[in-house]
Symmetry: C2
Subunit: 548 residues, 2 copies
């Protein structure tokens, strides 16, 4: 209970790190001038610069009275492990031990009523509150911003970890916010159901975090984003609880659920959600192709989605991501074999598409056959199920590679957007070019990977991974330049500033360009009704910074 | 341009009225004590009591300057035809000529800029604004409530009637708010596309109205509700325009589109929307069954929906609706033949289910076969495509029957809700019982019809039609008793106060029970940012009455 599941300085748990493979090293050396032999390990926990806790002891005593002495924690390990998410700047700061903010204490309520009580207390005592689920935010969403308040606490949902009800007739599950992804899936699958919500953070993130950040998962193309699957919820606010009954749909004005979904802890703490679940599919069938270029692959995906084929997983990598994936994920022998085979088929700049169909055996067969006939028209070379299975096997591993590269002198940044199909090609070009120029200008040329991973009839997402050599001592400035260049390209090109990572602090500067100042004012006004003193997650979303 | 498409005193256009058939008369006589020989025609237009226009001439002159003299109208015909929607109390008041409210003038802007200008003028001059699309509201959504303002005007969207763009690659259409349903479908289908949004008001309602009221259509099970199909929009507000770019999905905080969809004119006037469209299906195939009871039919529908069968139309009538439909829609011979056939198959209280599959010919065949095998397990007796085709043929005719019955001494009310599957059976019972008791208590026993018409994996809608003998001279009180009884049963039974008719004035008293006072406060606070003086559609939604 008393610490997050992840190691304090990086992603996930020990034991999952692996080396950067020689082929990947070669690519990064060639494109980024990556120097060999760098080793920059993280500092020790006791060497982390941690601001003194400023929580007044009288306030601490009130918290202890509300939840019990053992559930108010302010020791170093707990404070550090709740001080930051897992964005690139978070990792830079954690690894170097230069924390600029940390919660003054971490509170662990065990019930809705205790959460209500804590928020009322915090409002009374002018203490800022950061809701904490799994701590996997990559946008500064859980930064312990104290602002003008007396202190700042994280409220961990770790003890709100029950599955309250599974309604097998209505296919919904009502779940407390602190339930982690794997625990939820285990409980559901034991009864033949699945939520099938698999963000990359799945192993270490919580239902409450998903709902609060409008999370999308790797199977959202088939199973829907979390915002499409929330049927009801309960949110504690400083002004009392909001309970939104479970409904499949309503025309009773704007749907209030959709204001709380994505509210990022700025309105309150989501303590329960009722989610649509599915029966576990009887069959799953992967399939994979290489395309001669990204555009052919995107055209095939568009046709598959718009024809109603209903892919459950779809992931198209561009040339760079395909090359890097082949180099990092398989053996050198496999890589050379695949490339030789593709060259013989005329593909010199291959782009990998993996898809999966979930359903009944006959349905899955029929859809795979339909998918193959579409792809054939777009010049895809089929490689069967193996590449898809290989991608699935590694699908939660990339963040570990980021830790490894950070140690070895690289930065790794990720970001994403979505756009209508008619804008995707231009946007893909503009984002890549924007990033490359910004990084080249700083003397740290970037290697930019991109994939499409979420399909809609009207458009798709674009997800970027960027590598560059660390600007030692100026990593944060380097990240800001990278983030700014990408974000400018996104909002200017008609994309959304984020398709599945939320706003937090990092995207806040571009939210006005996307949605307008009027919308931010409306959000702030709505917030003031439930959080009149502004204690809920200050400095995020509508109250985030206006520049990086 | 200068008048709505509907006749001023009732539904639709002349020439579509038909008699109540003998079998239907018999049912209503038996259950409701419907007296024969009543004839209560509507008053003549010149006899309608119309409050004097209080629009100051100086303000009128400013409007005329903004949009042109001919586009400011305050003659009797225009004012009456914009004074009310088409709810039961609207029709009672219109037919008797006892209008309690009417707009002081109707304005016809021709561009976004003109709408912006008018709203700024209205804010300056303290004039309340009622946005007017097709005027089909059945919840008092366009009542010309002046409140404490100097005057009240309707702003008609009739001249904002262009289709701005069809993005064939992204499958979206950007449309001005005043485009009527049939005009939109004609333009889309000419290019091979369809929105397939068919609310019962389709012929007389507009895109802006659909978006503002979170409309659901008769094919929403297959093609999605309007809220699921809005990808972007533009809304004029008294504080200036809000433009929300087109995006397939976003994680950039709460989705602002979802606050404007369903805002019912209380935030501003939606002037444009970008909607997801579909390619016209190559094949459509209807199918129909009779079930021994409503529960078997609902269980079959639930299984079809949850198995991913994807019905495009689904409509299950309960015993009463089936009986009434057989009596009203077909010939007496057909009715007797069908009933004899069903009796021979053991069905004495048959419930009709009609469904439709849209898609490619092979897909449609496969789904029909899958549907039939599901229904077989639920004791459905198949009647093939004919009953579905017959339903489609008559699907826009019911409101004309209402006009006829009103003339002949009956009241006809409709309402709807939705709920999780696990609550549907109890809710169905409770709503019917609540209505029956309230009407019996007044000495006007009701005949209550119900159907399921929108399916979700997690639940479905229930749509009610209620007949009773008019309480002559107390029709409004009678309606209030009916509406209150139904609404209490809905919110107490876990339903939503409306699944496809919006809140308006009529549902506002029950919105707090459904969504809580906190949500209303949040909505009002958000509204104050775009409409600080509260001129936008007063008395509706979050500012609606707290009792009928």
């Amino acid at each position: 209970m008393d610490k997050p599941r992840m190691r304090w300085w990086g992603w996930g748990e020990d034991g999952h790190d692996g080396p950067v493979k020689p082929g990947a090293k070669m690519i990064l050396s060639k494109h980024c001038g990556w120097p060999a032999g760098v080793d920059r390990p993280h500092v020790a926990l006791e060497d982390v610069e941690l601001p003194e806790s400023v929580l007044p002891s009288a306030v601490r005593a009130r918290f202890a009275e509300a939840v019990g002495e053992e559930f108010v924690r302010d020791d170093r390990a707990v404070r550090v492990s709740h001080a930051a998410g897992r964005s690139l700047p978070d990792l830079i700061r954690l690894r170097s031990g230069e924390l600029v903010t940390a919660p003054d204490a971490v509170l662990y309520p065990a019930s809705n009523a205790e959460v209500d009580t804590l928020l009322a207390l915090c409002a009374e005592e002018s203490v800022a509150v950061v809701p904490f689920g799994g701590g996997t935010s990559v946008v500064g969403g859980i930064d312990a911003v104290r602002g003008e308040f007396a202190a700042v606490v994280s409220i961990s949902l770790a003890r709100l970890d029950r599955i309250i009800d599974i309604d097998e007739e209505s296919l919904t599950a009502t779940v407390q916010a602190g339930v982690f992804g794997p625990d939820l899936e285990e409980a559901l699958q034991a009864r033949g159901f699945t939520l099938a919500h698999y963000p990359q953070s799945f192993e270490f993130s919580t239902v409450g975090g998903w709902v609060a950040t409008r999370s999308a998962g790797q199977q959202s193309t088939g199973y829907g984003r979390i915002d499409e699957n929330v049927c009801g919820l309960r949110c504690s606010t400083p002004n009392g609880p909001v309970e939104l009954r479970t409904t499949p749909a309503t025309a009773a004005g704007p749907n209030p659920r959709q204001l709380f979904v994505g509210s990022e802890g700025t309105l309150g703490i989501i303590t329960e959600a009722t989610l649509r679940i599915h029966r576990v599919p009887k069959a799953v069938q992967g399939d994979s192709w290489f395309f001669p270029d990204f555009e052919s692959g995107a055209a095939a995906l568009r046709e598959m989605e718009q024809s109603g084929l209903h892919l459950d997983i779809a992931r198209l990598s561009d040339v760079n991501e395909t090359a890097f994936g082949l180099a990092q994920l398989g053996s050198e022998l496999q890589r050379k074999g695949v490339l030789a085979y593709l060259r013989a088929r005329g593909l010199t700049t291959p782009c990998l598409l993996v898809v999966r169909y979930d359903g009944t055996p006959s349905d899955v067969r029929a859809r795979r056959s339909q998918g193959r006939s579409i792809v054939r028209r777009h010049k895809g070379v089929n490689l069967g199920a193996v590449p898809e299975a290989s991608w699935e096997k590694h699908r939660f591993s990339t963040p570990y590679l980021r830790d490894q590269l950070l140690r070895e002198g690289m930065i790794v940044e990720t970001m994403e957007t979505s756009a209508p199909w008619s804008k995707v090609e231009d946007l893909h070009g503009a984002i890549g070019a924007g990033i490359e120029k910004a990084m080249a200008d700083r003397g740290t040329p970037a290697f930019v990977l991109c994939h499409v991973s979420h399909l809609y009839a009207t458009g798709c997402s674009l997800y970027y991974t960027v590598f560059a050599k660390q600007e030692v001592g100026a990593e944060i400035a380097q990240w800001k330049a990278l983030k700014s260049a990408a974000s400018e390209a996104i909002v200017n090109g008609g994309g959304t500033i984020t398709h599945h990572h939320a706003v937090g602090t990092d995207h806040a500067p571009w939210l006005p360009a996307e949605a307008g100042q009027m919308w931010l004012r409306m959000l702030r006004a709505a917030k003031a009704e439930v959080d009149p003193t502004g204690i809920m997650n200050p400095g995020k979303l509508m109250n985030g910074p206006d520049r990086l």
